[in-house]
């Protein structure tokens, strides 16, 4: 379980996050929604430990993030962001292997290599493994990074399961791979008991795949909970200023704009 307690963050006089408290449970896909500038990305950065909050606490399980060393945190928490450019020619295999860097010094162990083999197979990257990363398309690159991030938290570290944070991971994927990505994410989260917390923009994808939704507006949490209770006409209007029709069927919420 990943918990944020009374998180606040401001730059100059501008308040980006105002007293945010939220729990994300394991084995679930927790999605954070909100308009541009609502504070989603800042929250993800604070949750992942990239920037420390100015007040409040983050707990991984029952451990305060302040008490966890960076490399220890990296052994159970991975972050997938968007649009990563690599400055030098690297093969796909080398990029995926980076997911295991928190676990070895010098040369990778047989276990590290085996994990990378598994994730490469899982994400259908066998044919790319010797390709130069820079020559891949945007969608292919994102799959490589998903494989890298999965390799980082593939093996369980503690009883409570590992953590996967996603910062707009779907941005450069076409529709097919958006769904493919979310399906794989669902399977992996169930299979490994990960705590997945992600920012997405597509409300229909959120309505289909999100187990727990946090709707943010102007640095605060507007509402959070099950998707059926969060993704209502009224809430969407408050968060985005858009009129929608929402339909609930087969445990997924569909929005018509």
């Amino acid at each position: 379980m990943l918990r944020a307690e009374n998180i606040s963050f401001q730059i100059g006089k501008r308040i980006l996050l105002h007293d945010i408290s939220v729990d994300f449970s394991s084995g679930k896909i927790n999605l954070i929604l909100g308009a541009n500038g609502a504070g989603k990305s800042t929250l993800i950065k604070i949750l992942s430990g990239m920037i420390p909050p100015q007040s409040g606490n983050i707990f991984y399980g029952n451990q305060n993030i302040k008490q966890i060393k960076p490399y220890q945190l990296a052994q159970s928490r991975a972050v997938l962001s968007q649009n990563i450019d690599v400055s030098f020619p690297l093969t796909v295999w080398e990029v995926v292997l980076m997911g295991r860097y928190p676990f070895f010094r010098g040369a990778p162990s047989a276990k590290d290599k085996a994990v990378c083999e598994e994730t490469i197979t899982y994400f259908d990257l066998q044919e790319f493994r010797h390709r130069n990363y820079a020559t891949l398309s945007g969608g292919e690159k994102q799959r490589v990074h998903f494989a890298r991030v999965a390799a980082q938290i593939w093996l369980p570290q503690k009883q409570e399961g590992n953590y996967l944070l996603l910062d707009e991971p779907l941005t450069f994927l076409d529709v097919y791979y958006q769904f493919d990505f979310m399906n794989k994410l669902c399977d992996l989260v169930k299979m490994h008991g990960w705590t997945a917390v992600g920012v997405v923009h597509d409300l229909n994808l959120a309505g289909k795949y999100g187990d727990h939704i946090t709707l943010m507006y102007d640095g605060r949490i507007l509402t959070q909970g099950e998707k059926a209770s969060v993704l209502t006409k009224e809430n969407i209007y408050k968060a985005y200023g858009l009129y929608t029709e929402t339909v609930l069927e087969n445990n997924s919420v569909r929005l018509h704009f």
């Binding site: 990296a74 991975a78 962001s81 020619p89 990029v95 980076m98």
Partner: protein
């Protein structure tokens, strides 16, 4: 492994050929006398033991230092155009040396054969510290690496102008010394310099190898590296210190040698990829090989005189570099 073999072969070539060619017999007897501590050496044996061998070994250390420095700086700045002198080290050293050439006699600043390396080292260190201090920006919130790069360029310009000014006010022989030194020469090699440069080179490469994986992670960007558990500020501090020590010490003894630090990492990336674990080790070897060959040509081309080695590295290095960069399958 292949590179190591080539390096040994190159060492053989560089010690054998020069203003006079030594026979294999002479090399083997002098090595034998050296090991057994026999003091009775003839002229050629002394040339081998006191001139050729230290020079060849120093050449390997310096080449390794420059190439590894280049690899480290390119990895740290995530930028393939960076060379080790970027943070001001070599231009600072050149300024220190110029100061000594022009004003040393006037101010009686002289501590024997160590004076030149010492002032050059201090110059390099001063310039580098200046770059670091000026690029510390807690409150501006600018990307510290870009700031470091730009401040480095600015400080380099200042010190190069300083060298220019000193050559301008210098008398002719002094100006010649400055010119010669800022193009690099290994003619001053002796066993002391081999020991000192060797120690710093080996030490720094060993430290660098420990951080190879973290530098790899940095290729994905600072944020991704942090998320892989890299303590980014510590990494920067260590890698920069290693680079400064290596480059300042090497430059202090042999002058400014350009282009090795830029070309070697690129050559290797094309052949064996960008993994810094291999890159650091291989660039040490290849740097040693290339600089040895450059020194050999510098000694052979205008025999019995010598060309400054920096001229050879630039004239040979640049065309090769451009051809390589324009190749289609090298994407960076």
């Amino acid at each position: 492994m292949v590179l190591f073999g080539v390096l040994i072969g190159t060492l053989f070539l560089t010690t054998r050929y020069g203003a006079i060619t030594l026979s294999l017999d002479e090399i083997s007897t002098s090595l034998h006398k050296w090991i057994s501590g026999n003091e009775f050496q003839n002229l050629n044996e002394r040339i081998f033991l006191n001139l050729r061998l230290p020079r060849a070994i120093l050449c390997v250390w310096v080449g390794a230092s420059l190439a590894v420095g280049g690899t480290l700086m390119q990895a740290l700045f995530r930028n393939p155009i960076v060379e080790p002198g970027l943070v001001g080290t070599s231009s600072g050293a050149a300024f220190g040396a110029a100061l000594y050439f022009v004003l040393g006699a006037t101010f009686h600043f002289n501590t024997g054969e160590w004076t030149l390396p010492l002032v050059a080292f201090l110059g390099g260190l001063t310039a580098t510290l200046l770059v670091f201090l000026l690029s510390q920006s807690k409150d501006t919130g600018k990307s510290s690496v870009v700031l470091l790069l730009l401040i480095g360029i600015a400080i380099n310009a200042v010190f190069i102008s300083g060298v220019g000014f000193l050559s301008y006010i210098a008398r002719d022989p002094q100006a010649r010394s400055i010119t010669f030194w800022s193009m690099g020469t290994l003619s001053g090699a002796n066993w002391h310099s081999v020991m000192i440069v060797g120690t710093s080179t080996i030490l720094c490469i060993l430290v660098a190898l420990r951080f190879a994986n973290q530098l790899n992670a940095l290729m994905l960007g600072e944020q991704e590296a942090i998320m892989l558990g890299v303590r980014i500020n510590r990494l920067k501090l260590i890698v920069l210190s290693v680079n400064v020590l290596m480059i300042a010490v090497a430059t202090a003894f042999v002058g400014v040698i350009s282009f090795v630090g830029l070309v070697v990492p690129h050559l290797l990336r094309m052949v064996c990829g960008s993994d810094n674990r291999h890159l650091i080790r291989n660039s040490a070897l290849l740097g040693g090989i290339l600089l040895s060959l450059a020194d050999l040509s510098a000694r052979m081309m205008v025999r019995p005189a010598e060309l400054p080695i920096g001229i050879v590295t630039a004239f040979v290095g640049v065309p090769i570099f451009i051809v390589l960069l324009r190749r289609k399958n090298y994407i960076f």
